[in-house]
């Protein structure tokens, strides 16, 4: 390894290098990993939460967990995949808590419900800045439909479609049987199809 030409050190090797140091408690090395992965995690968290502030919080939570649990990273999946799993689970917890909070305050706060789910907010009637930022009609319909899915369906679809994760891995991340993960993806696709086909399909 010492004979490697200086100019040709692949990025993967420098990541391994940083992970090794993080295991020894090196914060500088951890910052390298944060720099490398923060943006990709933000995309995942944004899609799941539908809002930038929550997404940023989820990215921070992910890195805090990764620091704590680095000893559990066994290198079987790539480090990026491992972080994505942590991020998905943090965000799922967050979404479930949000959902529970909404369920325990039903009728009185019914009008406020849309405000507490940022995805609904994007899909709402008034053209919020977030909504304007979405690219066109498809984006608007898509985010509205995703907001209507269950947390499980939404997450399974996002992992399958945007993160390129296989059903088997999705079931691992979600802690459900592969059949249930598959079913969630199917349900999500079905609902999206009904909503999107008039503009995008045919």
């Amino acid at each position: 390894m010492l004979n490697t030409q200086v100019a040709e050190i692949p990025a993967a090797q420098s990541e391994e290098f940083a992970i090794e140091r993080v295991r020894r408690g090196d914060r500088d090395a951890f910052r390298v990993l944060v720099d490398q992965h923060a943006r990709a995690l933000f995309r995942l968290a944004y899609r799941m939460t539908g809002n930038e502030i929550d997404a940023e919080d989820m990215v921070q939570e992910t890195f805090l967990k990764a620091w704590k649990q680095i000893a559990k990273f066994d290198g079987r999946a790539s480090f990026g995949t491992w972080l994505h799993r942590i991020c998905t689970n943090c965000t799922l917890d967050h979404l479930r808590t949000r959902q529970r909070r909404q369920e325990t305050q039903p009728a009185v706060h019914a009008a406020k419900e849309d405000q507490s789910d940022p995805l609904s907010q994007i899909a709402g009637e008034s053209p919020s800045p977030e909504r304007l930022a979405l690219s066109g009609q498809v984006s608007a319909i898509l985010s509205a439909t995703l907001a209507d899915l269950t947390v499980m369906e939404r997450t399974a679809f996002i992992l399958r479609h945007y993160e390129g994760m296989g059903i088997e891995s999705i079931s691992n991340v979600l802690g459900v049987q592969p059949g249930a993960a598959k079913h969630s993806v199917f349900r999500a696709v079905q609902k999206l199809r009904q909503a999107l086909e008039p503009v995008a399909g045919k």
């Binding site: 010492l2 408690g25 933000f42 898509l142 399909g201």
Partner: protein, 242 residues
């Protein structure tokens, strides 16, 4: 059981689209020959392809710096073993004391303080080796990152701070071992690392592709990373000897 499906179900089409396993036997062949199913597959693909149009707002260039600012103060130190400080803290703290002891001894020409004086030569050598290996480790990490950075890597602020730290730490080590050993391959490497780190520390927070390339050329012309790796690994081995 007849494995040839009459028509593919919507679920089959979804599995096909995502190239998931679990399709009924003969599904692909059926799709090639059945107009109804291939039309359905095409329509599904159009809908799902349209989902790619959902864009995510692009976070600012220095996004990861903000994330780090939120994360860094909350990073817990690793679990402690018994009443002792963890080894990774103990060593640098101990080394700092030892180095200070050497320096005070040199400057004041007085006998070395008890802590350093009480150590055997072998122990001192070992601690010095570990200190050097740790320092070069951190330098190696930063050098590797700079070497891997692409033209579009813009935020250089964390690299600058770390380079500054390395300059300070490197100076202390260099003074100590030069006083002990005079000029050696190690001291000239430390010197070279320091000069390079100074350049990094004095770079702007956002480097242009040209500035980055200049740094990379400077680094590669002297095979700095290569030398750091070799010497780091030598010291690491030496530090591990009991």
């Amino acid at each position: 059981m007849n494995t040839q499906p009459i028509h593919l179900t919507e679920e089959d089409l979804v599995l096909l689209y995502y190239r998931e396993p679990g399709l009924p036997g003969g599904a692909r062949e059926h799709l090639r020959t059945c107009g109804t199913c291939s039309a359905a597959a095409e329509s599904l693909a159009k809908t799902l392809n349209a989902c790619d149009e959902w864009t995510v707002p692009e976070p600012p260039v220095d996004f990861s710096r903000g994330i780090w600012a939120g994360v860094a103060p909350r990073l817990e130190p690793r679990a402690r073993r018994s009443w002792l400080l963890p080894a990774r803290w103990l060593v640098p703290a101990f080394c700092a004391l030892l180095l200070a002891a050497f320096l005070i001894g040199r400057v004041s020409k007085k006998p070395e303080p008890a802590l350093a004086a009480g150590l055997s030569d072998q122990a001192r050598q070992r601690i010095m080796a570990i200190t050097l290996a740790d320092h070069l480790d951190r330098a190696e990490l930063l050098l590797t990152e700079i070497s891997n950075a692409t033209d579009t890597a813009p935020d250089f602020s964390s690299a600058r701070y770390r380079a500054q730290d390395l300059v300070g730490e490197g100076r202390l080590i260099l003074q100590t071992i030069s006083a002990e050993t005079g000029e050696t391959a190690t001291t000239s490497l430390l010197d070279e690392v320091e000069r390079f780190m100074l350049e990094v520390a004095n770079s702007p927070d956002r480097v242009t592709p040209e500035e980055l390339q200049t740094l990379q050329r400077r680094m590669n012309s002297g095979s700095l990373l290569f030398k750091v790796r070799i010497i780091q690994s030598n010291f690491r081995t030496e530090g591990q000897k009991s």
